[in-house]
Symmetry: C2
Subunit: 332 residues, 2 copies
Amino acid sequence: MQEMYTIGIDLGGTKIEAAAITLSGEIIHSHSILTKVTAGYPGVKAQLVEIIHTITSLLPANSLLGIGIGVPGQVEAKTGDVIFAPNLQWHQVPLLQDLEEACNSPIFVLNDLRAITVGEWLFGAGKNSSNLFCMFIGTGIGGGMICEGRLMQGSENSFGEVGHTPVNFKGPICTCGNHGCLEAYAGGWAIARNAKERIQADPSKGKAILKHCSRVEDINATHVFQAYREGDPLASEVVEEAIEALIAGCIGVVNLTNPEKLILGGGVLNGFQGFFQRIKRGIEKGALKVAVRSLEIVPAALGKHSGVIGAAAMVIHNQKRGNVGNETTYKL
Amino acid sequence: MQEMYTIGIDLGGTKIEAAAITLSGEIIHSHSILTKVTAGYPGVKAQLVEIIHTITSLLPANSLLGIGIGVPGQVEAKTGDVIFAPNLQWHQVPLLQDLEEACNSPIFVLNDLRAITVGEWLFGAGKNSSNLFCMFIGTGIGGGMICEGRLMQGSENSFGEVGHTPVNFKGPICTCGNHGCLEAYAGGWAIARNAKERIQADPSKGKAILKHCSRVEDINATHVFQAYREGDPLASEVVEEAIEALIAGCIGVVNLTNPEKLILGGGVLNGFQGFFQRIKRGIEKGALKVAVRSLEIVPAALGKHSGVIGAAAMVIHNQKRGNVGNETTYKL
């Protein structure tokens, strides 16, 4: 029998990564280009069509099962329309329909973190588990959940938006307008902001961070982590608070949803060694006994290609389920 | 065809309520006795057997489909063993097995709030909805979730334990040992405790509450609500904080799990008029747009018999699914 492939695409605000992937999750070709966000939806759509053709041309004829696209935004489950993707400046675009017409192959469009969740489940840290929560801590914080062998979607396809869990209702304002969200403490943008605000309040304190970055307005989370590793008190305050917030956010998730695996990934988590272990211990100490009794807390396993593998995994999962169309449906 | 019935039992630390219920959720007989907690597991088990026999004797022969028992504690899904029920002082008791031997009828044992969730779903505020979260705010806070037409169980059957979501990781200690849980602000016990602590810190302030209750150690949530309605500043501080915490907790739930209905019930919610509306408005203002776009926030509908109806609903739900045994299983 002919070997079949899928194409996974990780569509980001900076770059588009595409890869041809085997049914067991291995990458056989990959290709990456910078995203022309300023070219608007038509421009980026043309880039997607081109990269799909490039990858398809490398595959044997009739070997393509389908194409999965992970989008940094909100996707309408049934239609595959992208409702809102701030980093791409997209509002309500019919991505699935447009690509299906241009590419003559089944297309699946879904949120990027939900895609990575499916990838970790089928091919990564969540293999052989049917109840898991994936949390990704990068510039923003998001996630996805598998319950009893199903990708949770919720009523508007946003199940897993863990970044906007209030972990301190008296806390600082978040980009969403609410107070004390997990992301407002532990997202990369917040770590940077919270350091900047402290320096602006007391400029005598910022020196260790400003060694790595000359101007206060240019501080990012990496600079804060560098100063933290050097023992800087201001950076410590910001990072320790981020860790406490992450522990609280994870405790909320495991107490509420009782997964058997909590998979943690993302750039902030990799910001320094020991971060993961601190969070793991904090959860194990603070969560309900019933919630941690059989809980495994593990780092994400797919690494930097998780986006393309996840998008491809979604195609494989949907095909296995015999689903027609974009939506992941399950028998009741 | 003969009409069939189920028996629903709400087993509480104070009383045991049992009712015979039609397949459309109507109560036809009900009976209630005080729980002899001090008689230990054998004593309470004997009470259960007796009340089951009393209700069964009122039904036509061969008309009993099964008996559902909602337990205030943690239940092992497969076996129906009660792992831990603090108000009953039970640790690891084989309730399902013992009752099945004594009653010669299919028995279903589950957590009381998960039972009420199924009841609200089949017969109450959640009818015709397949994605809903129920939250009950009483002495403690708990809940349950239906996703895509399925009762969520989690890996240890504790999906829905929303009371121990941290809403302020810098907040007061909770009975679970962690800090700033939702329940540590808004559970009835916490409303009482938080008022007591404030009075103990400044005895000049407690007068309005102490009008309703002579000694500080006897203050309960009802006294605090009475003083709140009279405009007492200390009671206001405690209750306003509870409302803010509840809004934050609900925002966390709807952002994370994206239900189409959030059903709120329980004694604290009914503590004063306007409480429900305040919480509803707070959620609608503070949650993510995607999470509230199609969200309905509604009060629980089953009222004081929700426990027995819920326990019976679980029997009906399991029978409809053709399940054998205690566990609610679904096809993948």
